[in-house]
């Protein structure tokens, strides 16, 4: 069983996004970029499926500019077998990425696709579900436990107020929630090994898909800043202000 893992290169988790002063977007020049944290969880889950003897091959796929090769190498260092970069310098909306992933998944004949539940840059949270729709596959979003055996999946997923468990025959698309697993640390020997793994580059423009953005970003601003308030002297002062000033209790 082949597994596809979708990985996205984003502004690093620890870097605060800064809006460009001309309102054209977020400044990514000279910033640290790394793999979307939810996609690391997706890679880890795929590797665990392979270690459990369920998956036979893991294909990590990224869509974007040449720099995404570095992110694919990280996926290979976690344990993916090979990488595919669908290269383009154009802006890709989640729908376009889903179409590109559909192309690769169909070509490779994968039966399980694992996506992060959202990317921490655009916070869209769409690509996995869109991919599922285009493929006509079952979906299990926000997964916190994955079990695959005998051509079927049993998946616990996070919902408001608790958990639900779904069962489906393969193929299935899974999106990872935070607590599905804890990704392993990437070791130096594995980084060296990853350098030798195959990484194929496909040009997105050659695929004949409609990837044009359907939305235009007119302007990007910083949100209205919240003003820091005051420090209260003690609990009595706090209660008095909440009652008399803020009138919230």
């Amino acid at each position: 069983m082949k597994v596809l893992v979708a990985v996205k290169r984003v502004l690093d988790y620890n870097v605060k996004a800064r809006v460009k002063s001309d309102g054209s977007g977020v400044d990514l020049a000279n910033q640290k970029l790394s793999m979307n944290p939810f996609d690391e969880i997706a890679c880890e889950e795929a590797v665990r499926l392979k270690e459990a003897g369920v998956a036979t091959e893991i294909i990590a796929v990224s869509c974007g500019p040449a720099g995404c090769q570095e992110t694919l190498r990280s996926a290979l260092a976690i344990g993916a077998d090979r990488g595919v970069l669908v290269e383009t310098n154009d802006v890709l909306e989640p729908l376009a990425v889903a179409k590109l992933m559909q192309h690769v998944a169909a070509k490779e004949g994968v039966e399980v696709a694992i996506f992060g539940k959202q990317a921490i840059d655009d916070d869209a949270g769409q690509t996995g579900q869109m991919f599922g729709a285009l493929m006509g596959w079952a979906q299990a979003t926000f997964a916190s436990k994955v079990k695959i055996e005998g051509g079927a999946a049993t998946i616990s997923r996070e919902i408001d107020g608790g958990l639900e468990t779904l069962q489906m025959k393969l193929p299935v698309v899974i999106t990872t929630d935070l607590r599905l697993n804890e990704p392993r640390f990437i070791t130096l020997p594995n980084i060296m090994k990853a350098k030798k793994k195959p990484l194929e580059v496909i040009k997105a423009a050659d695929l004949g898909l409609d990837l044009a953005p359907r939305t235009a970003t007119l302007r990007v601003d910083e949100p209205a800043a919240r003003k820091a308030g005051i420090k209260v002297a003690d609990v009595a002062d706090l209660v008095k202000r909440l009652k008399e000033e803020a009138k919230v209790i």
Partner: protein, 313 residues
């Protein structure tokens, strides 16, 4: 121009998040239709018809909508949109329910989706936050059918009564049979739901242990009639269940009062609560970033301050 809303409901009643979504839809200015899909969900259909501002309710009652699974619901929504060319917008709340179903709808319609819309400027221009709320984009959609998930905290709910919309029953789409629901473990809360609560008491790593998290915060939440929340650090450390998490990748809340106890205030946490009306922070570290957004900061040991607060209320 007509807007179709995918209702979040439990068969008997409409979830509050649906009322916020209807409020956002009314700002678009087109008639609002609400789709209630479920199994034995006539009561929820009647409840939707009573909501102020709703023009029509579509009820799709079939066994295979009972579990609210994304594959079948998305197919039904798409069938409705294709059957009526007047639909120009499809909306759902940006809750676990809406986030699961809506992108599937968008892809089947070959539309882009705008997630977590916080303002409607015109029928085709919207605002949405991204980068954990550190940036806000004004986005214009060129899609024929615009698909929007609505950040519920950004829109005051419409009244659940006062409306008298027509209720129409619609044919179910075929059961795709892709997925079965095995079971749900939903914790029955005696407290208000996190996303609907007017007061939230939220705890962080400063609580130090699960028993302390509950032992210290529950009396305060009880006294205030508040919901309990947590930072990611507290959830990761096992102090609180996963669905308590407030933040970029957890729940987005905006209560009247948010009391952050032992939370340092990472940007990802602030993204989930900084639209609260009044923020109180209790933390022994005076330099903690949470104080930069708090209206009232108390620099104190939470293990003394919180019990003191409980007895002072």
């Amino acid at each position: 121009m007509t807007t179709l809303i995918i209702a979040e409901h439990d068969g008997a009643a409409i979830k509050p998040a649906t009322l916020n979504t209807i409020a956002a839809a009314l700002k678009i200015g087109a008639p609002v239709h609400v789709l209630v899909a479920g199994s034995a969900c006539a009561a929820a259909g009647q409840a939707a018809a009573a909501v102020a501002g709703v023009a029509k309710v579509l009820v799709a009652d079939a066994a295979h909508y009972g579990a609210q699974l994304a594959e079948n619901l998305a197919a039904l929504v798409v069938q409705q949109v294709r059957a009526d060319a007047s639909y120009t917008h499809v909306l759902a709340p940006a809750t676990a329910f809406g986030k699961n179903v809506l992108p599937r709808v968008a892809a089947l319609l070959d539309s882009s989706q705008l997630s977590d819309v916080t303002a409607v400027e015109s029928p085709d221009t919207f605002q949405r936050p991204f980068y954990a709320g550190n940036a806000v984009a004004r986005v214009q959609s060129k899609d024929k059918v615009k698909v929007l998930s609505i950040r519920t905290t950004a829109f005051d709910p419409v009244a659940a009564s006062g409306g008298s919309a027509a209720v129409e029953s619609v044919a179910a789409a075929a059961d795709l049979g892709l997925t079965q629901l095995v079971g749900r473990e939903v914790v029955k809360l005696e407290r208000p739901e996190l996303t609907a609560a007017s007061i939230i008491v939220s705890g962080g790593r400063g609580l130090g242990a699960a028993d302390k998290f509950h032992g210290v915060l529950e009396p305060l939440a009880d006294k205030l009639g508040a919901a309990l929340g947590a930072s990611r650090a507290a959830v990761d450390a096992g102090y609180a269940p996963n669905d308590y998490q407030v933040g970029q990748t957890g729940k987005i809340v905006a209560p009247q009062l948010y009391v952050a106890v032992g939370i340092s205030g990472a940007i990802q946490h602030l993204a989930g609560m900084k639209d609260s009306k009044v923020i109180v922070a209790i933390n022994k570290d005076a330099e903690a970033p949470i104080f930069q957004v708090a209206d009232y900061g108390l620099v104190a040991d939470l293990f003394q301050a919180v019990p003191e607060l409980v007895s002072a209320l």
